[in-house]
Symmetry: C2
Subunit: 345 residues, 2 copies
């Protein structure tokens, strides 16, 4: 895959970071769910949380040179780096979460400082306390100039479309911070038959769909038109749920009366990454959301990440102009970083 040509500026908006190390726990919990890294040979490490192996990761999780090399292999030029979702820490006591997220955010800001041309930082804030989360959002901007934040699809089981989270979205819109919603601790995990890895594979698509729907039925996307928000994994099953929502909106007054515009119109206010691995799915997302709302997302560097994101889009029949929009100008528009070159985003 060549890195020469218009795609050299392509942006992967969905990649994750695990810091190489974590500070010793300094809080007062007796059994803190505090992460630590066990160094392994060959540039790998075990992330251990609460005494259990959570995930074995390679140096790609923290090494800037390694990421830059892999990015070129993927045919892209820039990468948004966000925390591994399990680090979002909504389930920790607030003081523990705050300490951990400050370490993670500082790590991400430090990686960006190593290569500010190619890396774009995305931080995290403790959404279990909205005033603190808003203060931390401001801190991300002021301390590090980080203008993107990753959030979970739910906060301790409460969908992000619930009214209590609206002040956070209002603050993100005001501060011009882009929001990336990632599936997390999925609804229906207890319905899976098989090992824990099925949560990511099978339950994430339903989970992120529920999160998007909650922002629509809760009215948040309509009330905050300046909010720039993107959803992981192509919105999961949401493109199919949306067809059902659209039909009921047309046909069932008690659902229509709930919304001020059609669910499809609201859905097109948001962005969706293309971490979907399948050209047929890409075609459906183009039909459902419009090519202007789609972004490259690979889920790098975790297992089964998308190694050839541009090939999937070409396989879906996108023209080079559309490909350039998805890979570059859509992402610039979503992130608020249009550099004045290329077509107007």
């Amino acid at each position: 895959v060549s890195t020469i040509g218009p795609m050299s500026g392509g942006i992967d908006i969905h990649t994750h970071v695990v810091p190489r190390e974590f500070p010793a726990y300094g809080g007062s919990s007796i059994l803190p769910a505090w992460p630590s890294m066990e160094v392994l040979p060959c540039g790998h490490a075990n992330l251990v949380i609460s005494g259990k192996l959570f995930r074995t990761v390679s140096e790609a999780a923290w090494s800037v040179p390694r990421r830059i090399g892999d990015l070129a292999e993927m045919g892209l030029g820039r990468q948004v780096i966000s925390p591994m979702p399990e680090l979002l820490s909504y389930w920790l006591p607030l003081s523990d979460a705050l300490a951990l997220l400050r370490h993670v955010n500082a790590t991400i800001a430090g990686m960006v400082a190593e290569d500010p041309i190619r890396l774009i930082g995305m931080g995290a804030v403790p959404l279990q306390d909205i005033p603190v989360a808003i203060a931390e959002l401001r801190y991300l901007v002021e301390a590090y100039d980080l203008r993107a934040v990753e959030i979970g699809s739910n906060v301790n089981g409460v969908s992000i479309g619930a009214p209590c989270f609206e002040p956070f979205f209002e603050a993100a819109a005001d501060l011009e911070v882009a929001v990336f919603v990632h599936a997390l601790r999925a609804a229906g995990t207890d319905r899976l038959v098989g090992p824990p890895v099925l949560e990511q594979i099978i339950a994430f698509p339903g989970e992120i769909a529920l999160a998007i729907a909650s922002l629509i039925t809760g009215g948040i996307l309509v009330r905050h038109p300046k909010l720039r928000i993107a959803f992981s994994h192509g919105g999961g099953g949401f493109a199919l749920t949306l067809a059902r929502m659209e039909h009921f909106w047309s046909d069932l007054p008690r659902f229509r009366d709930l919304l001020t515009e059609s669910p499809s119109a609201t859905a097109r206010r948001a962005y969706y990454d293309l971490a979907v691995f399948d050209s047929t799915v890409v075609r459906m997302l183009v039909a459902r959301f419009g090519v202007g709302q789609l972004l490259i997302g690979s889920d790098y560097p975790f297992g089964a990440y998308e190694r050839a994101p541009l090939e999937v889009l070409r396989g879906a029949g996108l023209t080079e102009v559309e490909l350039s929009a998805v890979a570059k100008t859509n992402a610039q528009r979503y992130l608020g970083i249009w550099d004045g070159s290329g077509e107007t985003p």
Copy 2:
């Protein structure tokens, strides 16, 4: 819409019945969740359960002449009639569930006796007790010649792909009873932001997707190749989840090792109804499952049911031959009722 021509034999496999009346409660529970009907003017009735209005239904829920008239309006010739899912009664004490389901099954068999040419009966069994459920399956066949059964996507929160349900599926395959899986009491309902009607609109697609995935990862579909099984609402979000499963199956050994064939191959062992209301979705289901696995389903007579199922398929670009397969021969094959006419199913 004309009822003349090849489509006059078209079969709608997804329609529901609510009996016009229920017997008085005869069990020993102090607060039984036993249904009753309050008659309303103009051929309507309120279905009341546990003292609360569950749903207002029209006579279409029980009247054979009314159904036959509406069926012709939809351009179809036959209709599979199954219980309203909330009547499945998995959450009742076994003796109450058994009494209620026997009443529902007898009602459905009675409706079929009124018009055995146009109506095809689908019963229900108490899956909270597998040996009793299997005995009731046999009773459906012997007492009423009912060779189709509706089941929920979960039984009191346990996915139907869990090992405990395998003897039921084995019995259905042995008795040559077609199984129709309907979304029920959906996972993620607590993630919805808005009124109760959102469960059906937004949470059902994720719920039925989880049920299908559980039958794949639990191995039931592969181990029972003679099982004829169909899923409601086009499988909900499953067509999108499947693309993700397929990618991880190719790329992640610990997921691949779990399955004896690709998730897509297993998915094509099942049938999916087309109660999806959208031509783009139909096209995706054709691409994902093959036209031979799709069936007409309308969700008649409940709110927002599909009034023009053939139009949606024509809008998706299906040829008349494909349309005839979906509407007729696929359904005959699924139900085990090929009459020897038309193309070989």
